[in-house]
Symmetry: C2
Subunit: 163 residues, 2 copies
DNA sequence: TATTTTACGTCAGTCTTGTTGACATTCCAA
DNA sequence: TTGGAATGTCAACAAGACTGACGTAAAATA
């Protein structure tokens, strides 16, 4: 309805600009997932498999609980995905030595190969986008995204950065 | 594995930085949808309903085909959502006067009210993020998102901006 | 040592949201 | 007048999320 000019330093922010940001997120996320989705389809996997593989690759030897926290799904949901990945020999389990209740997850060579394919496709689009807009825009991009996360996820995100 | 320094102007882009961007998108999208999701749950609606309402609000009187292009789903999938929104009197149909096959979609007052609730919640988070990072970061944020869209969606996005 | 808690797996059932395929209706335009 | 476009709808299916309940092994603790 009206421009929203409540705060002192917010003068540059109109409802229209916020709405544009919302729509940009919506459309960009479609692009973000489009390339991996096409590859996954060929193997009869979905985004859930991609996400699991991504973070197992990122944090090799992670236990199930930790992965659950990162992904934000239930164990039943993750388990279904993990089971097929293990059956297909993309992921292996190792029982913890210190705490034998824990299962540590690793990508096999086959798993690493598919993960590489997926991340290459996804990175390619991001690299192209970065190249077109320049480094300053990239800095801003990441800052806004980080500020949009729930605080718990922000912690998770930062932990991953420093690992 | 190794730093990726293939192109001339890409020296600033490492695999690690790209991966951070990917993870930032993943985590931020969770934040992006979290607040509306909580509201939708109370009404027994899902994200699909939110998206439909958002764009019907944005382009009042749009026909079904146009909405399908924006949303990128099948008509059967959209129809299910649309049917419940019409039953619940959040959306109304008007048969086209020029082409009577077309159905033009509008939000009712009730629909506008819920849409407002949802967009307020979503905007609030984005406004906060913007406030924290400052205007330059916001510009970069939008630039990168736009560059990440499929070219067809980029056109759609720009059309919405100028409408 | 006995009990409780934790980590994990699994079975069963449900929901949302997406898909394909087929078919009917309305109606514009050639 | 007829072909094709815009739309609605029925049916069937799948991915991927959820809840709830139950089981097992192992660690932690009382």
């Amino acid at each position: 309805m009206q421009n929203d000019r409540t705060g002192e330093s917010l003068l540059f922010l109109t409802d229209e600009q916020l709405r544009q940001g919302i729509e940009a997120m919506f459309f960009a996320y479609r692009g973000f997932t489009a390339d991996p989705d096409r590859i996954l389809e060929k193997y009869n996997y979905g985004r859930a498999h991609h996400r699991a593989m991504h973070f197992i690759n990122r944090v090799p030897g992670t236990n199930v609980n930790n992965l659950l926290k990162i992904l934000g799904v239930t164990k039943q949901s993750l388990n279904r995905v993990l089971r097929t990945l293990i059956q297909d020999e993309l992921v292996t389990l190792k029982i913890g030595t210190k705490d034998r209740r824990e299962r540590h997850l690793y990508l096999t060579d086959k798993g690493k190969s598919l993960e590489k394919q997926l991340s290459t496709a996804q990175s390619h689009r991001m690299r192209e986008a970065y190249r077109r807009v320049g480094p300053d825009a990239v800095t801003g991009f990441k800052k806004v995204l980080e500020a949009m996360m729930d605080s718990k996820l922000q912690v998770t995100y930062k932990k991953l950065r420093s690992s």
